[in-house]
């Protein structure tokens, strides 16, 4: 009896493995193409499917020197890390009252936040630019950090408030009875339990800031302040004829994000369970 069930499972797993391989190949294909392009010599017109027999790293050198990718990565890191920290900080404390006390004011604030999540920032680009100029925020790190934080807040408030709803209210009440002040409930009780969703928010907002183009283009104009999306896009402009260098720049733009994900994988899935599904 048990044997038959095991056999079935084994066969199932076999099929699953094959399907998994096919799926992986399909999803990896675009990256394979861009990788193989990046190792080709400029002017190599062979098919995109053929990996160069002797990989050349010239294009990476070109991307690093011309595109200044090194500085760009550091700049992007600074902007992303700071913005994410602020997003977590402001978003979490804001979502506590919004999730716990459904007063009219709180409900209004919450739906305003969620509604704004859908507004494409591009449509308000120029008013924001003028505002930033008058505040003196152009070509400063704090300017872009404040902007990225503001536009990352809705997502974090959304996920945090969903998650806090699943923490039993009794915990709060017990703490109050124990003499905790109501402002202290959050850091003492709620925060330690929020790690999974925090890492979810870190990944989601961090990645979108890392990949942001418009805001960073308009706020960080000086070459030494440039971020990685800008450095990379300079290879895709009109007079460009250097495909491999463009491909190399694209690869380098993607790499750090992949590394981050591999680190935070475990927490990410758990965080999504608790905030998106409950």
């Amino acid at each position: 009896m048990a044997n038959a069930k095991n056999n079935l499972k084994a066969r199932h797993n076999w099929i699953k493995n094959i399907v998994a391989v096919v799926t992986s190949v399909f999803f990896f294909a675009p990256f394979y193409i861009i990788l193989s392009l990046s190792f080709k010599v400029r002017g190599d017109r062979s098919s995109h499917w053929i990996f160069p027999s002797s990989p050349h790293i010239q294009s990476y050198v070109v991307a690093l020197t011309k595109g200044n990718i090194g500085t760009a990565i550091i700049n992007t890191l600074i902007v992303t890390v700071f913005s994410v920290v602020l997003i977590i900080l402001f978003g979490s404390i804001a979502s506590y009252p919004l999730a716990r006390h459904r007063s009219k004011l709180n409900k209004f604030i919450l739906s305003a936040f969620v509604g704004v999540m859908m507004v494409p920032p591009l449509s308000v680009l120029v008013p924001i630019y003028r505002l930033m100029v008058s505040l003196g925020g152009i070509n400063t790190f704090w300017g872009i950090i404040i902007l990225s934080t503001t536009y990352g807040l809705p997502m974090s408030v959304f996920m945090f408030s969903n998650f806090i709803c699943t923490i039993p209210k009794e915990l709060d009440e017990a703490a109050l009875l124990d003499g905790c002040s109501q402002f202290a409930i959050f850091p003492r009780i709620i925060l330690p339990n929020m790690m999974p969703v925090v890492s979810s928010v870190v990944i989601l907002t961090g990645v979108s800031i890392w990949n942001d183009y418009s805001f960073q283009l308009y706020i960080l104009q000086k070459p030494k302040l440039r971020t990685i999306t800008l450095a990379m896009s300079s290879f895709f402009s009109e007079g460009m004829t250097n495909l491999p260098a463009a491909a190399a720049a694209a690869v380098m733009a993607v790499l750090p994000v992949v590394v981050l994900y591999l680190f935070l994988q475990k927490y990410f899935i758990k965080g999504t369970v608790d905030s998106a599904v409950k």
Binding site: F31, S47, A94, G115, M117, V119, S123, V126, V257, K278
Partner: protein, 303 residues
């Protein structure tokens, strides 16, 4: 007098739950300054004929809104945005669910496959767009190479407007279905085993169990994915620009990329802001409807 007021205030801070709303202050301040104010400014611009860069402009009343109603490219962009948003939802639901079911239970290649499927979801739209451009392009495109093997002569995939919109929608779905997959995996994992056991004891077949237990319990996951995808469709910009720059003609623009093009390339800042306000109102309607629907479903299951 002052002492009494201070005392009342500290009582308020300590005991009244409404005081907690103060915690939302930093977020709300940032929000009002950098979101609300620019939107109002955009509203103001939509009533002018500003070209976007001069220091002077004049007011033209609701002319821009009238133009909007009769402008072909705006309606094409609107339709495209719906296709990108809803179409992506549909395709991603099927794909995401299928992948989730494949990858929920442990087996040898599960971890690797999950990672490979998810990674494209973290790549910037612009990069994905360029990568896929080199796949679907006519000139030595990767896709054309494949159909060549079957003896079919190369096709210019993106040359027809409707076909191009479909292709962009598919690419958006494929590239970002990793997100949906994760959401569904989370959903599937949260279905307690005892439900399945109870169903099999009652004699339900696999398919019946799926229909009546799994699918209803996946509803929250589905709605999250719906919301995220509609937002994605409305914000679709990088992918369109990288693959077709909105063309051929204006055929593949989304509302977001059209606003950008109208503002900068066409120098019609007033008109572009009007489109922006129009899509903003549309977004508000959609989110209100979604909220109502979610609350209704919530009551259905928990009431």
């Amino acid at each position: 007098m002052v002492e009494a007021k201070l005392k009342r205030f500290s009582r308020f801070l300590y005991a009244d739950p409404r005081a907690l709303t103060l915690l939302t202050l930093p977020a709300v301040v940032l929000f009002s300054v950098f979101v609300v104010f620019p939107i109002i400014s955009g509203l103001n611009i939509s009533f002018t004929n500003w070209n976007g860069y001069s220091q002077s402009y004049s007011y033209v009343g609701i002319q821009n809104y009238k133009d909007l109603l009769f402008n072909d490219s705006v309606w094409t962009a609107f339709r495209n945005t719906l296709v990108y948003g809803l179409g992506s939802t549909a395709v991603q639901t099927v794909l995401g669910l299928g992948l989730a079911m494949l990858l929920v239970d442990k087996f040898f290649l599960r971890g690797v496959t999950r990672t490979i499927v998810y990674i494209p979801a973290m790549v910037a739209q612009l990069v994905i767009g360029y990568i896929w451009y080199f796949i679907v392009t006519y000139e030595r495109g990767a896709l054309n190479d494949i159909i060549n093997l079957f003896g079919v002569s190369p096709i210019d995939w993106m040359s027809k407007g409707n076909r191009a919109v479909l292709i962009i929608m598919l690419i958006n779905s494929i590239a970002y279905c990793g997100k949906t997959m994760i959401i569904f995996i989370a959903g599937l994992e949260s279905v307690p085993n005892m439900y399945h056991e109870a169903a099999s004891i009652d004699g339900a077949s696999g398919w019946q169990a799926f229909r009546h237990i799994t699918i209803p319990l996946l509803l929250p996951a589905f709605t999250t994915s719906l919301v995220l995808n509609i937002i994605g469709g409305l914000k679709m910009f990088g992918l369109v620009i990288a693959m077709t720059d909105g063309g051929p003609g204006y055929a593949t623009h989304s509302l977001s990329s059209l606003i950008n093009t109208m503002y900068f390339a066409n120098q019609r800042a007033g008109f572009s802001s009007a489109i922006g306000i129009f899509s903003f109102i549309f977004i508000m309607l959609v989110s209100i409807l979604l909220r109502r629907y979610l609350e209704y479903k919530d009551q259905q299951y928990n009431g």
